[in-house]
């Protein structure tokens, strides 16, 4: 291919296929057996361990690490899966530096935590490579539950319900399951089609039917589901995005970052995926970082993240910011886009400088331009397409207890429900806990 990072416009094939393959290889390759033993040996088996408390799914981390250390990684994996059936994906995508590993006593003592995420991956990989599914279903209860959304929240909920003997039907609007595991997570975090493999493995419990291309809204209604099922769980994630609200947002080259990422995740051949020469990403979270880094890895010459507040307010963790910088992404803070320039096609973005003041963020009046042929907007996702009649809280479904909504027999969890961080592991915890609550209601 003739394109290079310097080729103007949005084009494919800026890098050779082999470079692309290198760039998108597993970012944290699996530990070897020797590495795992050395890493496991460092765990102190702390009492009431801070790591386990920091894990939203409360995995018994010291126990699973001890099980690795004593040569039983399969038992270690069971310790993980009993709490978090998506422990394989979480081992790959959890921001451990702000969860378990942040509070590891060895992080405090030496600045080097036990490598909990990688050890979790070591154990779960071993058990998942075995034939069959490690859990058995309880005797059938004859109860049926509908789950809307086959993302982490819906899958965790469905698996737990199936294990307890209920029959589950999952409805997902998309043609494929996994939610953002399949369409959102950075490609180098879950290589080798792991999201689909994990989904198939999870469904191995039995008792779960998935219907793809079935959306709540046009196709299905909560009332209809309530009539047909004993309980309903909503795990629909965040279908909408915040828009910039500037003129010119329809120019060629302006796009939602999540759409760009979803296309990237589904691309058969990444070398055939077009990317700009100069890419500007607006936002300050995980989505912004992932869009920027992956643009760079596809061969963009210059990638800039522009965030409207100060560096201390970036929601991307220090580790992710470091990762972006190491990948060659520039991060500009205190800059808010004020105009999209170009004639039909994006040519530049004008930013206004901002300052945090007593009355909130204000523009200083000074501006600058960033030349760009691609602008990716990552300023937050919002709930959309939620059923009528649900009490809301800050734009998300209001819940009490383990995901109970304002409608009887309807639970919600994951990104679409209020409370908790928007993380895979939080979605898993909320789905699982809602399942336990549903179960208690159905059998109590």
């Amino acid at each position: 291919m003739s394109a290079s990072p310097q080729t103007p416009g949005i084009v494919a094939g800026r890098l050779s296929s082999s470079r692309i393959a290198e760039n998108f290889a597993d970012i944290a390759p699996p530990l070897t057996g020797h590495e795992a033993l050395v890493a496991a040996d460092r765990c102190y088996f702390c009492y009431d361990a801070p790591c386990a408390t920091a894990c939203p799914t409360s995995i018994d981390i010291p126990m699973f690490i001890r099980q690795i250390a004593t040569g039983t990684p399969e038992s270690a994996a069971m310790t993980i899966f009993e709490q978090n059936i998506l422990g394989g994906m979480c081992a790959r995508v959890c921001p451990t530096e702000t969860l378990c590993e942040e509070v590891c006593v060895r992080e405090v003592a030496e600045g080097k935590p036990v490598e909990i995420g990688r050890l979790q991956r070591y154990a779960t990989d071993i058990l998942m490579a075995e034939d069959g599914h490690p859990f058995e279903r309880a005797a059938s209860t004859g109860r049926r539950v509908a789950v809307v959304g086959a993302g982490p929240a819906g899958l965790a909920c469905a698996h737990r319900l199936a294990m307890l003997g209920h029959d589950v039907v999952i409805y997902d609007a998309r043609p494929k399951g996994g939610g953002l595991n399949e369409f959102g997570i950075a490609a180098y975090k879950a290589v080798g089609g792991f999201a689909q493999k994990e989904l198939d493995w999870l469904l191995g419990i039995g008792g779960i039917t998935v219907e793809y291309g079935r959306a709540l809204g046009p196709d299905l209604s909560v009332d209809g589901l309530k009539a047909e099922f004993d309980a309903v769980f909503l795990g629909m994630g965040l279908g909408g995005v915040n828009e910039l609200g500037l003129d010119g947002s329809d120019r060629v080259g302006v796009r939602r970052a999540v759409d760009f990422i979803a296309e990237l995740r589904q691309a058969e051949d990444l070398a055939a995926l077009p990317v700009g020469r100069r890419v500007v990403v607006v936002g300050g979270g995980m989505t912004a970082v992932d869009a920027a880094v992956q643009s760079k890895l596809l061969g963009a010459e210059e990638v800039t993240i522009a965030y409207r507040r100060g560096a201390d307010r970036l929601s991307a963790s220090g580790h992710e910011q470091e990762h972006a910088k190491n990948s060659g992404v520039r991060i500009v803070t205190n800059a808010v886009p004020v105009a999209i320039r170009g004639n039909g096609r994006l040519e530049a973005v004008t930013f206004g400088y901002t300052a945090d003041g007593p009355d909130g963020l204000r523009e200083t009046g000074d501006t600058f331009d960033l030349v760009a042929d691609q602008l990716l907007v990552a300023i937050g996702q919002t709930a959309s397409g939620l059923p009528e009649g649900l009490a809301m809280d800050g734009g998300k479904i209001a819940v009490t207890g383990a995901g109970r909504t304002s409608i009887d027999s309807v639970w919600a969890g994951g990104d679409c429900a209020a409370g908790g961080e928007d993380l895979t592991v939080t979605a898993v915890a909320e789905g699982r806990d809602a399942a336990m609550d549903i179960h208690a209601g159905l059998t109590g």
Partner: protein, 433 residues
Amino acid sequence: MADLRTDFVGIKSPNPFWLASAPPTDKEYNVRRAFEAGWGGVVWKTLGYDPHIVNVNGPRYGAIWGADRRLLGLNNIELITDRPLQVNLDEITAVKRDYPDRAVVVSLMVPCDEESWKGILPAVEATGADGIELNFGCPHGMSERGMGAAVGQVPEYIEMVARWCKASTRMPVIVKLTPNITDIRKPARAAKAGGADAVSLINTISSITSVNLDTFSPEPSIDGKGSHGGYCGPAVKPIALNMVAEIARDPETAGMPISGIGGITTWRDAAEFIALGSGSVQVCTAAMTYGFRVVQEMISGLNQWMDEQGHARLADFQGRAVPNVTDWQYLNLNHVAKAKINQDLCISCGRCYAACEDTSHQAIGMSADRVFEVIDAECVACNLCVNVCPVENCITMETMPAGATDPRTGRVVSGEYANWTTHPNNPMATAAE
């Protein structure tokens, strides 16, 4: 899931993991929490007559550590329980009532006369406890008063006390042996002769863990002085396994139930004790180092291994290693092996080279670019390189097949078994039949 249920001389427990008589079992609060964590049974901290003994009011423990300050050996100068007898008996009664499925054994140590031993048994029986363990092991303090190891070192006393107890109680009697003795078979035989139902071993080993070079006091130091504390923890496991095996294969005591104790820290340690004949295992230091939850790894690990091996219950492998413990003279001298270094796993530290070159048989070659390879013509298969290598399974012992020529001796490896008793160099050799 394998069946871990245990029946040890009629004492039943849901798994073979018991807490040994020691601080973890010296009060109701501890034992309840231990049972909640999953322990199958406890041997209550040793009881004695009132007035109860006292402990030192300074440090009781000393220790040695491995890399990363991992606790490898613990020593202590603690005595038996320092609480009134009735307090302990009441607590034992309450715990046994609430946990009928768990093993509750009561450890005892009283002066070495018939009246003392017979006198305490009815009160213990009244607690509902499942059995008693006679503590003839404590190597410090109590032995100065003619109890503990002072009794355990005299087989005649062991036999006598065991007989008194058997005659006076319906409860099974377990004799806990001290390792501070030359030949462990003697006290075990004495226990059997006295009618004891089982032995448990080992108690702690007399030790001094370190000397403070500023004060010249042994550690742990009480006001500048120390004593001969009892040693336990991972470091003592090989000594304990050896003694368990000696009793298991001694024709006079073979088949006598054994509760294995000493350095058990993981499921694997426990499985090894059971393979050498133990019917239950007891743990102290691992619980004291890591807390009661450590039993959960022991249970899951033993379960997994038994499932993988197809052992449905403990009896399926209990004692399986005993016939393989033999005298040196019966080892097969025609078994020839060579060390082999896996170059993919080797990290080129050179520890194997230092060990072999400096202290063994100069059987490892080192190239200018730090590739280490075994020279088969020199290797005697001593295993030292395997043991000093930091990478598990990087260096292995490969058996030479029959018919191959050993490049060290130039001899063809025989497929026949031949031992020292028939070896030509043995002046006492008997002709092979």
